[in-house]
């Protein structure tokens, strides 16, 4: 494959009738199947993306309720409302669920929904893999919920330190469920990342060279690459944990040459990038919203991109700052202090660029922007407390205290969830065709903002006063009573705010104002089609003429033709310049990914109980995988088409 074939540029008349015909045909080709089997066969990125988002928010609600229970327990000292056994399960499931079943998946879900729309293609790359990953994620998440309801939930913390989580100190299967939950979510997250990277690199519309890619797409790219390099580490260490527990290997047994710090290294080598995996997509959301509500491109595009990429790299170099108290050599610790501090620079650059963008534009204070402003107020504080934590001496004092709890809720809730909710308000009209209520949205914002600060700000002080994390109760005479009570009352506001958000979503979904294609006048390609988008996304694949795809579009912007509409063809382009180089055909919807996910889940859950799950699952797994890739009717058609084509070329020659 040496020579590039170049697409032909010309002018042609496209009548309304032609477009209508095209539309009908595309709708038939890119159909979304119905019925129960159809429901399990869908391969459309928008349907899967929406399911992903809704599922993630269900887990968010569940984990939020658990958080409410914890605040209830901690409202007063020496409380006997929840015993230690249940409390440990609750805080473990809260953390695990928020990190692995909400934060990472919901960001990837947004990517699954938006990236193909933003880069101008008809579906995500490897759509069946995408469906598979969703079901694996769903089954894994349901497994954790069920364990919580059956008193079998992990009770060793979301970090699952050995030896506490090892076979000797956590009998039963609680920690095994944790380890396998990790496997479930990692398989899903890794698969989605590969799809996103392939989509972003290879399926961009002509003209969208790397330096014209929307910042949201950049942030998803960085996130996906971070997932690809970080998650293998936790897959490895949680598998080792499972092996230790199930078949008696000695990875973490110091008496037989293992080491419990090995777990911490492997876990945090994933665990720290994990924070950025959650946070970087949020940066993309913030950029999207700010540019849409100031009607100006983000100030300092190149600096923003460089910062995102730098964050992705530096995020891998600072895992040891979670292990300052383990007694590692001082020189090593100082290196990690420096690295942890350095990562504040790219974040600072982005904050300054956003402020400059707001300065330059004329902000319109709709709910999405208001949430982004809330993000500034909360996240900057969380970021600064993060810088203080990077300093070894200070960290030794506040490590594993409520100061840290306050810090990461400021960073994760403020840095990721506020932009995310803003993003939901922002993209809701695109996803459903209806606007969310703006007035309720602002009430919603203030409830969440005030509730958040009342809940989490006192925790800074509690931590500085010496209250450790992960305690199910605390003594009466420590002077921690008032602040804990205040914090619990704030949690009440958060619950109300969360409920109002759900109410607004449901109400707007049914009765909201119908929105236009581009209600905010935003710049990116997803706003160019109808709301909600048609199954095939773009009637004509657009040609992108500038960094702001819609704002820079000339009146006579070219469109792409010559992609077949009777089969699922998509345009594949060059990595750097998005030059069209070939055309690929995506597969039809299929039930096999679902079945494969069922078998995979069976294997994962079975291997909690017995190593025989592996040999038993191999055959069904092979069957479903072969079914997945086995030639379909379409392949036979295609083989015949190709033969005809060859014959025609041969005759012509």
């Amino acid at each position: 494959m040496s020579e590039f074939v170049h697409p032909v540029e010309r002018r042609m008349t496209i009548s309304a009738a032609d477009e209508e015909r095209l539309r009908t045909q595309l709708e038939r080709t890119w159909y979304v199947p119905r019925g129960i089997i159809g429901w399990c066969s869908v391969a459309d990125h928008k349907t899967m993306g929406k399911r992903y988002i809704v599922t993630a928010f269900c887990f968010f609600t569940f984990a939020g309720i658990l958080a409410g229970l914890m605040r209830l327990q901690l409202a007063v000292p020496n409380n006997h409302f929840i015993g230690p056994d249940l409390y440990n399960q609750i805080f473990t499931v809260h953390g695990t669920m928020m990190m692995f079943l909400f934060a990472v998946p919901v960001m990837e879900a947004l990517g699954v929904y938006l990236v193909p729309l933003m880069v101008g293609t008809r579906n995500i790359a490897f759509p069946r893999l995408n469906a598979f990953s969703y079901y694996v994620y769903l089954f894994g998440g349901v497994m954790l919920v069920v364990t919580m309801l059956l008193n079998t939930a992990p009770d060793v913390g979301w970090f699952s330190y050995v030896p506490l989580a090892g076979p000797d100190y956590t009998p039963g299967k609680r920690a095994d469920f944790w380890a396998q939950l990790i496997t479930f979510t990692e398989v899903a997250a890794l698969a989605v990342s590969v799809e996103l990277v392939a989509t972003i690199f290879k399926a961009r519309a002509p003209g969208m060279s790397l330096n014209r890619m929307p910042l949201f797409v950049w942030s998803m790219l960085v996130t996906a690459l971070m997932v690809i390099f970080a998650m293998p580490s936790i897959v490895t260490c949680s598998s080792f944990l499972l092996l230790d527990r199930l078949v008696g290997t000695h990875f973490y047994n110091p008496a037989e040459g293992g080491d419990s710090l090995l777990w911490q290294h492997l876990f945090w080598f994933f665990g720290h990038p994990e924070v950025y995996i959650i946070f970087v997509p949020a940066l993309g959301i913030v950029s999207s919203i700010i540019s849409a509500f100031t009607w100006r491109p983000i100030f300092g595009y190149s600096a923003m991109v460089m910062s995102l990429v730098a964050t992705g790299f530096i995020g891998f170099g600072l895992w040891v700052h979670h292990m300052f108290a383990t007694g590692l050599p001082a020189l090593g610790l100082e290196y990690f202090t420096a690295a942890s501090i350095v990562i504040a620079i790219p974040t600072g650059i982005q904050i300054f660029c956003w402020i400059a963008s707001l300065w330059r534009g004329r902000p319109r204070f709709h709910t999405p922007l208001v949430f982004v402003l809330g993000f500034f107020a909360i996240f900057v504080l969380g970021g600064l407390s993060g810088v203080t934590l990077a300093s070894v001496p200070f960290d030794l004092q506040v490590h594993d205290s409520y100061y840290v709890v306050a810090h990461f809720h400021y960073v994760l809730l403020g840095g990721a969830v506020f932009p995310l909710i803003g993003g939901i308000y922002f993209w809701f009209p695109k996803m459903t065709g209806r606007l969310m209520d703006d007035r309720l949205g602002k009430v919603n914002f203030w409830l969440l903002f005030i509730g958040f600060n009342i809940t989490f700000f006192p925790m800074h002080i509690l931590g500085l006063e010496g209250m450790p994390r992960r305690v199910y109760t605390y003594p009466d005479n420590m002077g921690w009573n008032t602040l804990n009570l205040v914090s619990s009352l704030g949690a009440l506001l958060l619950v109300v705010g969360g409920a109002l958000f759900v109410y607004n979503v449901v109400r707007s979904y049914r009765w909201g104002l119908a929105g236009s294609d581009n209600p905010w006048g935003a710049e990116t390609l997803e706003w160019s089609m109808s709301s909600p988008p048609p199954v095939y996304n773009f009637l004509h694949i657009p040609v992108v003429e500038g960094r702001c795809a819609l704002w820079d579009r000339s009146a006579d912007a070219p469109i792409v033709t010559g992609i077949r509409s009777d089969v699922r063809e998509v345009l594949i382009s060059d990595v750097m310049d998005a030059e069209p180089i070939n055309v690929a055909e995506y597969p039809e919807p299929s039930i096999w990914p679902f079945l494969c996910a069922v078998v995979t889940s069976g294997f994962f859950i079975g291997s909690i109980f017995t190593p025989w799950a592996l040999p038993v699952s191999i055959l069904p797994l092979a069957v479903t995988l072969i079914g997945w890739f086995w030639p379909k009717k379409r392949d036979r058609e295609r083989a015949i088409e190709e033969q005809d084509e060859d014959r025609r070329l041969h005759d012509a020659a």
């Binding site: 040459g257 469109i559 792409v560």
Partner: protein, 211 residues
């Protein structure tokens, strides 16, 4: 003030189009989409191998003797396997070239030979487990050695099965041009597996003698 959206303007009667109907529908290598999926998973699995190897050396630092109070693994079967998989690169390479020339007969022949090599590697691998001279639950050394070997075995076995399925498809059809991309990618993945056997072989069999 309105959004700077020029698209609201009425399009002219004739439109500029970029006709891509001339572009190829079947491509090999990194120009195509499939390659990126394969590469993505190779990177992920490669990272897992790297981490497992790092763990091996980390565990080495925890004890004074290596292997701790166990005999060294026997060299014969591991080395035999190394020779086998290195030799198998040849049929893999030829199968790939044939696939990229859409030469069905060639693909059938060389894929068969590749499958035979693969089966041989799996059979030899079974003997390797006995030659390790340790059990996974003896100590941490045994655990990591068994894990490394098993991780690689899973890859070998998966790709052998994969090759068998592809061989069946090659024999039964329909052989679309995209199918030839699969034949080609299969060899690429086999390269990846063979390439990883070299450092894993050195670690499992030679490191206990050197460290």
């Amino acid at each position: 003030m309105t959004p700077p959206d020029a698209a609201t303007m009425r399009p002219p009667d004739t439109r500029r189009v970029l006709d891509v109907s001339v572009l190829p529908r079947t491509v090999f290598g990194h120009q195509g989409l499939i390659w990126w999926g394969t590469a993505g998973f190779m990177v992920i699995e490669g990272s897992i191998f790297v981490i497992a190897l790092v763990v091996y050396f980390y565990l080495r630092l925890q004890v004074t003797d290596w292997p701790p109070s166990l005999p060294n693994p026997g060299l014969f079967y591991g080395t035999l396997n190394l020779a086998t998989v290195l030799l198998s690169l040849l049929p893999a390479y030829i199968a790939k070239t044939k696939a990229e020339k859409f030469d069905l007969a060639g693909v059938r022949l060389w894929l068969t030979i590749l499958v035979l090599f693969g089966v041989a590697a799996v059979v030899i691998r079974a003997f390797e487990y006995f030659a390790l001279n340790c059990r996974w639950d003896d100590n941490a050394y045994g655990s990591i050695v068994w894990t490394l070997l098993s991780m690689h075995t899973i890859h070998v076995a998966t790709d052998v099965v994969d090759s068998m399925v592809l061989l069946t498809l090659a024999l039964t059809g329909p052989n679309t041009k995209t199918r030839f991309v699969d034949y080609s990618e299969n060899s690429l993945y086999w390269y990846f597996i063979v390439a990883w056997w070299v450092p894993i072989y050195v670690t499992i069999y030679l490191m206990p003698r050197w460290l």
